[in-house]
Symmetry: C2
Subunit: 565 residues, 2 copies
């Protein structure tokens, strides 16, 4: 294990200042007593998959939702959690680091110590490898003092981020039993939360007492759903990326001669690119979900970009900024098919240099069309979740390369008469995810002691269902926006991601309002009510039913890319 992990270190003035920040807890988690209400059973995002998921997780699927109650709420059947014997909990980082990760540990520690000074929180040093090897560090005030509200995962570090093979699962179970853990908290993204769900099921099946808790800490924002507002780190990363994008925008308009192709880290979903577009107003953002939905081919995307470049040239503008999500490459249908073929060859242990010759004729033709540097990157080793190493595929350079070729074509054919097209490429990855967390992420991570695990089984819908809200007003703004860097003092320190403010927040509250209405209807529509009232009610209910049926059908509308402005 790395000697640099978990050691106390010297902080800069800003870090020291940040360490003094006390995260806020929601009222329901303040104090030493927590009041909860059990709700409906959990289900899968797509109801059609519920059966399949239930079969895969027979012991853990369908547990009751837990609703934390504000201290003053009066609930007749509220269950009071009394004092209990000291508990022992283990915690580890598993997955790409994301700002706020340390605060999950801090919040857990404070809450456990508030319950009983005898509660013990053990950190696993070196992530999953530390878990398998039983390498622990007891979390204390002293250990934690220089990691409060700080970025990175360096208090404990991370390694292979996988608990999936029988050997790995058994090692994890044996550690949890040997250390007599009541709980195991896994801090990570999609893959790690899927592993956490599987581990929980296995533990129950084998009567291991350790409860497994997955905490969605990933910059990509792709684990959000009705119960999880966003993932820890998303806000910070979007703020840092937006600062950098707006700097690039200012640079672009100042020099007036380059197109900037900016690729943003964020996994398969385009949440980061979308949020950053709302914050910084680039000229174009290409959302992977839209490309997949409209089945746009690579050359259709290139042509759309070129049309935009040409339209801007007609206005005398030779600069622009395009945002590209990391996962775009997998959203382009023919590229996805090619990557799948390569993945299959990898799974069959075909050596990297033989992959090109073993592709199907169709895939081989596409492969040959791609520039050399992309071909090399596509056949690289795979990440733990078996997808191509998205962060290592220079999609921004691929697009810039093809756009330049197409603009040269148009010039040759006399269709474009403007100046030569020039591009600059950027990838914003670790320079954003290592940032000091924003106030939002400090608070959110500190309070997020336990969230619903996201289930993923065979046939489950892709995790991180894209919830994309086109926002033409903001994206068609006249000029670039400059949100600046994260500010920790003065006004604006508590801003939230724009996408969050656009989405309905109180999901459970809305369900309650609806249930109130249904209750009222039941009271009115009892035998004895007038024929007219009944007729009106039937007509209205039929209409609601029709509307909901249409809305629940899959969306087929072709959404346009956000166009140049």
């Amino acid at each position: 294990m790395d000697a640099d992990l978990g050691s106390p270190r010297e902080l800069t003035w800003l870090q020291r200042r940040r360490a003094l920040y006390q995260p806020e807890l929601p009222p329901c988690l303040q104090g030493t007593r927590v009041r909860v209400k059990f709700g409906d059973s959990t289900t899968s995002i797509d109801p059609k998959c519920a059966d399949i998921v239930a079969q895969a997780f027979p012991h853990t699927f369908g547990q009751k939702l837990v609703h934390f109650l504000e201290p003053n709420t009066m609930v007749s059947d509220a269950q009071v959690i009394e004092e209990r014997p000291p508990i022992r909990v283990g915690v580890l980082f598993s997955g790409r680091q994301s700002p706020g990760g340390h605060n999950v540990i801090w919040g857990t520690y404070d809450a456990m110590k508030a319950q009983s000074p005898h509660n013990v929180l053990l950190g696993f040093v070196g992530g999953t490898e530390g878990l398998f090897a039983k390498k622990t560090l007891e979390i204390t005030d002293g250990v934690f003092s220089s990691y409060k509200n700080q970025g990175g995962f360096d208090l404990l570090g991370r390694t292979v981020d996988q608990i999936r093979t029988t050997e790995q699962v058994n090692a994890a179970m044996s550690t949890c039993c040997d250390l007599s853990l009541d709980g195991l908290i896994i801090i990570g993204g999609v893959t790690s939360n899927s592993d956490a769900a599987q581990l929980a099921e296995t533990f129950v099946k084998h009567n291991c007492k350790t409860k497994v808790i997955g905490v969605p800490v990933t910059l990509s924002g792709d684990l959000k759903n009705q119960f999880v507002e966003t993932t820890v780190g998303f806000d910070t990363v979007c703020k840092v990326d937006s600062q950098l994008i707006s700097n690039v925008c200012l640079d672009a308009v100042s020099a007036g001669k380059y197109y900037y192709f900016v690729r943003l880290m964020g996994g398969k979903a385009s949440h980061v690119a979308f949020e950053c577009a709302l914050q910084s107003h680039p000229n174009m953002v290409i959302l992977g979900e839209e490309v997949a939905l409209s089945k746009l081919t690579l050359m259709e995307i290139i042509n759309k970009i070129c049309d935009g470049v040409q339209a801007r040239a007609a206005q005398g503008k030779y600069h622009g900024v395009l945002l590209i999500p990391e996962g775009l490459i997998e959203s382009i249908p023919e590229m996805y098919a090619l990557i799948q073929e390569i993945n299959n060859l990898h799974s069959n242990n075909v050596p990297e240099d033989e992959i090109p010759s073993q592709l199907s004729p169709w895939a081989a033709a596409l492969f040959k069309f791609l520039p050399q540097f992309i071909r090399r990157e596509l056949v690289l080793h795979q990440e733990s979740d078996n997808s191509a190493q998205l962060s290592q595929i220079d999609t921004e350079q691929l697009l810039a390369h093809l756009v330049e070729a197409e603009m040269n074509n148009r010039t040759k054919e006399g269709n474009y008469k403007g100046r030569k097209f020039s591009s600059v490429c950027h990838f914003f990855g670790s320079q954003a995810r290592g940032s000091l967390p924003s106030n939002f992420d400090c608070n959110y991570a500190y309070a997020m002691m336990s969230v619903r695990r996201h289930l993923r089984g065979p046939g489950a819908v892709p995790i991180g269902r894209p919830v994309i809200h086109p926002s033409p007003i903001d994206l068609k703004a006249e000029s670039y926006a400059t949100p600046g860097g994260i500010q920790f003092e003065g006004p604006g320190t508590d801003t939230k991601p724009i996408t969050l403010t656009m989405e309905g927040q109180d999901y459970l509250g809305d369900i309650e309002i609806l249930q109130d209405y249904l209750e009222k209807l039941r009271t009115i529509l009892k035998p004895g009510c007038s024929r007219e009232v009944l007729k009106a009610a039937i007509s209205s209910m039929a209409s609601v039913n029709d509307v909901l049926k249409v809305m629940s059908a899959p969306l087929n509308a072709e959404l346009p890319l956000y166009h140049f402005n």
Copy 2:
């Protein structure tokens, strides 16, 4: 010209907040009266070049230094600048955008209007092209309101950044005469300030009344000397870059499996890399000046990096962060020679695809040794100052590529037994230089109404003499430092670059102290003083003389690279 330039625009809350910041003026520039004292004549940095520079600039070389006096200083022969007729001044951006550029215009505007409301400041829209085409925009409060304390050069924009050919110089002169300008302010870096010096000389020679003023606004910090503390933008860019580097450092230590090769924009000198190393404490910084001084070859640098990687592996550490200045490639002797050959072929209009075949056998061998992507970049088009397009040569990828090859070699030969070496490359360019300027840059740019032009003629020493102060204490710190982003509110908003705090600041003050001593000596050592006093004085003076002779000789000591820690 671009329709996006100079237009009023909507500001974000942080930009609006920043626009309210009122830059501070030093006491000598406060009020409407300025008191100055004329000092010694200017000379060249290297006294040996003074004659050559004097010949190249017969009308402008050797003018008196102007010392601004604090309002209360009593000076017998102080010259009071009385009211004078309204003046007309033109201003343009020429060179890569740098944070604070707008404040130079704002400070000039406020100072001119404080003198007389009839003074007129004209901005040239589109940089040098606007100057040649007489395309102006009168600076008013209204025009400027949304550009105060903002980044970029987008109030006026920039274009080719060159005033050098006879045609260009004549066009500039004709514009200045036609618009009856008393002054022309050129905001830019090394190249533009060299052009400004040449233009000033030409104007005097042709009796053009326009005074040319070069303002050193460039992120690279390479125009600093005894009279110019630093360049405008250096502080901001170093702060943003340091924030990103420290984010990368946190990422590196958290994952513990990658080496990050980070290249920093900053021209030929390594000031940015050095300042960022002081702020963020990476594992290694390779300074171009040291490489040039020690005549390190490419493979010597690679071996030093590999030795560091190997030493860290022995401690169980498989991560690290290296900073690489943009100009490093030109500091490596054999690479410099190769680039020179390519430049010469370019000057002789050899087409790009024929360049490789026309290289000398030695250069061709080196060229062939380099990876394909670097070969392609080396033969690209040239920038205006005739050097290779530094920002487009992926030196960080070259080093990472060669280090990986060498580590694989060492593994094969059994000399290295650690894990496989993996790298991630970054280039921090426009994402830093488009930032909102720091308080330091806002103040510095606003107050910088007129500075000494830097002379550059045939035989002149390289502009931006590297002033590198090794600082082993900071670089050998135990852990990475996290300076965070630029903060605009709360403590720490007024921090200066660390390099500036390390250098003696009051150069002219020190010269005055020395001259006081010499004056005292003259008073004591007059005929009539005792034999003993005379003897002691001669002995002391001989000693001072010897010490200064040794200190003035060129430095031959071999400075080490900053080693891994």
